[in-house]
Amino acid sequence: MGANEVVMRTKVRLPCNAYSDLNVNGNNKDRMDHHQLVKDCLRGNAAAQKRLYDHFVGPMLGVCYRYTKSMVDAEDVLQEGFIMVFRNLYQFSFSGELGGWIRRIMVNTAINYLKKNSRYQTDLLFTDGGLHPVTDDDPEVLLSTKELAELIRQLPPGYQTIFNLHAIEGYSHVEIGKILGIKEGTSRSQYARARALLISWINKLSAINKNENSYARPKV
């Protein structure tokens, strides 16, 4: 995990409790340390800012990576997101988890980045797909973390965003509709298509891995 190997496990208070925080230990001492870190950052302590960055940069880059199509774009989102974090750190309420607060900023920054970036705008046109495929498959996700992340990133940007927001971040379709400016039904249909597509790829890739024990990139 980067320079700092401190790993803390604490549940993030995201909308659906879908994502756990970096705080693995979950004790009050770690929370107090985070609070002290925030206070030091608010005083303008550059060393504290660097510590906060080092502590959260790895997972946050993973978040950004899932929403973008390249590592360069992911780092752009990460950089913009951390600048937002430091500039709005005074708005952080010490009642919540710092990791969850930073994650929400990263997600919002990533969505704004996708909306502003012309490379993603054409693919973010969400249309009602009518009937969407229903998948009752219960695939066993045997892929590695990075393989699964690569598959998610291979989804079309619209699918990718909705899948990330609903399946991983835990937002409801109503919230996704407000965030992306689409109808709730559209979000549902897009998510179903994304899910079905991803499951098909997972099954295909898992079969390939089993048979050939090698990685094959699915064709979209």
Binding site: A46, Y53, L61, F82, A167
Partner: protein
């Protein structure tokens, strides 16, 4: 609709997704965040600095403007009062060596009570005698009244007044009468003509110099008064951000405010006390004498008449300072200050002249008093404060005496380069035996030595340095030959630094 086990599995996988970004990400973040941190602290410091300098400049400008107005109001003096003031002035001048141009008969005439109220014709006759006497080489004698007249006449050589106008002017006051008489054709010329070769040159030279100093003509006397004003202080805009921005990680520059207050005076030597002496070239500032009378014409008489001693006045200064430690004990200090010096001297009453306005020249029936340049006679009627405003650039070295961290003591010494911004100082003209203002005789650039003992008081991240300070002008206050006096300042210095 969908199997939540799939989402849970994906969440678990994605929890572990981490990457290490490139180093440029943090560098860009730091660049974006760090200036914000610096901007938070700088405005507090430098806005106070800017506001302080603006306030100082505005206060100085307002003060000088008020001072000029107060001078301009002193335009009317009753004839009796003028005579009374001129009499002691002339009495003081008795036996004092001035220039050969003034003689005993004239001095006697001016000393005599009521002579000041004499008619213009009578004054002219006396002055013609004075010119004749002076041509004979009589060296002794002080004649203040004549000097006043002569100065006035030189200021208005082209008045072109008729005899009736002169007499009508003379009816106003004695000095008016004298002015009118001098303006009459022929009378004033007598002085110059009879002055002899050397004296005549001196008079011509003096007249020419006075013409250049003062605006000729009656109405332009007002302009001459406005010319008293010193140059306006430019807006202080010297920010020391460049100093603070120098990247010196080990011994960086530190900046702060500096100020002080104390007493200042005008010393003819380091330890002697200056006096406004009516010797050949000495006065409070003795300036005009040397300009108006060449050294060859000075009397060899050693008799002196102390007109006024120069007493110390209040002095204060404010500015910015930047310091850089050079070694464990030595540090360099630079600054930009605006300093106010003052000195006091006792003078007599205000001597003013009436001049005719343009309407009076058209219609002789209406004679309107027009403000003219005020003089101060020798006497003990009031205390006048000479004020000098200098923009200073001090460069000093500080040496730490002790190694104590609780109360470090520093010896401070350096050089100060000063530029005169404004002054209202009075200077003595021993020709006319009056004090008047003329900034052209002051050295605009001054070099001074400064020294002091500084104690540093640390207080919550702010260093306060304070201690006594002495500053002595290495250059004379006045231009060459005008005087040997130097500005001296002693007071308390306070510096507040981050």
């Amino acid at each position: 609709m969908h199997d939540p086990k799939f989402e849970k599995a994906v969440q678990d996988k994605m929890e572990k997704l981490e990457f290490i970004p490139s180093d440029s990400v943090w560098e860009n973040i730091e660049l974006a965040v760090a200036p914000r941190r610096r901007r938070r602290a700088e405005p507090v410091f430098f806005w106070f600095l800017l506001a302080g300098l603006l306030l100082a400049g505005a206060g100085t400008a307002i003060y000088l403007r008020q001072d000029t107005r107060s001078v301009a109001k002193n335009v009317s003096i009753p004839a009796g009062a003028t005579a009374g003031e001129n009499a002691p002035m002339s009495a003081n001048a008795q036996g004092v060596t001035h220039t050969p141009a003034v003689t005993d008969p004239i001095k006697d005439a001016s000393v005599a009570p009521g002579t000041g109220t004499a008619s213009g014709v009578g004054s002219a006759a006396e002055r013609s005698v004075a010119g004749t006497k002076s041509s004979a080489g009589t060296a002794n004698g002080s004649f203040s009244a004549d000097g006043v007249h002569r100065t006035t006449a030189n200021r208005h050589p082209d008045a072109g007044l008729t005899a009736d106008e002169i007499e009508s002017v003379a009816a106003g006051s004695s000095i008016d009468a004298t002015a009118g008489t001098n303006g009459a054709p022929g009378t004033n010329a007598t002085t110059g003509t009879n002055a002899g070769p050397a004296r005549g040159d001196a008079s011509a030279t003096n007249a020419a110099r006075q013409h250049s100093s003062y605006q000729p003509g009656l109405i332009s006397c007002v302009a001459a008064v406005s010319g008293i004003r010193g140059p306006r202080l430019p807006p202080a805009s010297g920010r020391s951000t460049a100093v603070t921005g120098i990247p010196m990680p080990k011994r960086p520059w530190s900046a702060g405010f500096a100020g002080g207050f104390g007493m200042s005076s005008y010393n003819q030597s380091l330890l002697s006390k200056a006096t406004a002496v009516t010797t050949t070239a000495n006065a409070l500032a003795a300036s005009v004498t040397s300009q108006y009378a060449p050294a060859a014409s000075f009397s060899s008489s050693s008799s002196k008449k102390i007109t006024s001693t120069v007493e110390p006045g209040l002095s204060y200064w404010a500015g910015v300072v930047a310091q850089k430690p050079l070694s464990a004990r030595w540090s360099l200090s630079l600054g930009l200050d605006l300093r106010y010096y003052s000195s006091r001297l006792r003078v007599g009453g205000v001597v003013t002249t009436y001049s005719q306005s343009a309407s009076a020249l058209i219609g002789s029936s209406a004679i309107a008093p027009v403000q003219s340049y005020p003089y101060y006679s020798v006497g003990n009627v009031q205390v006048f404060t000479n004020r000098y405003y200098y923009l200073e650039l001090p460069v000093a070295m500080q040496w730490q005496i002790n190694r104590g961290r609780i109360l470090p003591l520093f010896l401070r010494g350096g050089v100060v380069l000063s530029r005169l911004m404004s002054s209202n100082g009075l200077y003595y003209n021993d020709h006319s035996a009056v004090y008047f203002k003329d900034n052209s005789v002051i050295q605009p650039m001054q070099v001074s030595f400064t020294s002091g003992l500084i104690a540093t008081l640390p207080l919550r991240g702010i260093r306060i340095q304070t201690g006594p300070e002495l500053q002595y002008g290495a250059t004379t206050l006045l231009k060459g030959g005008a005087g040997n006096g130097h500005l001296v300042y002693g007071g308390l210095r306070v510096t507040v630094m981050r």
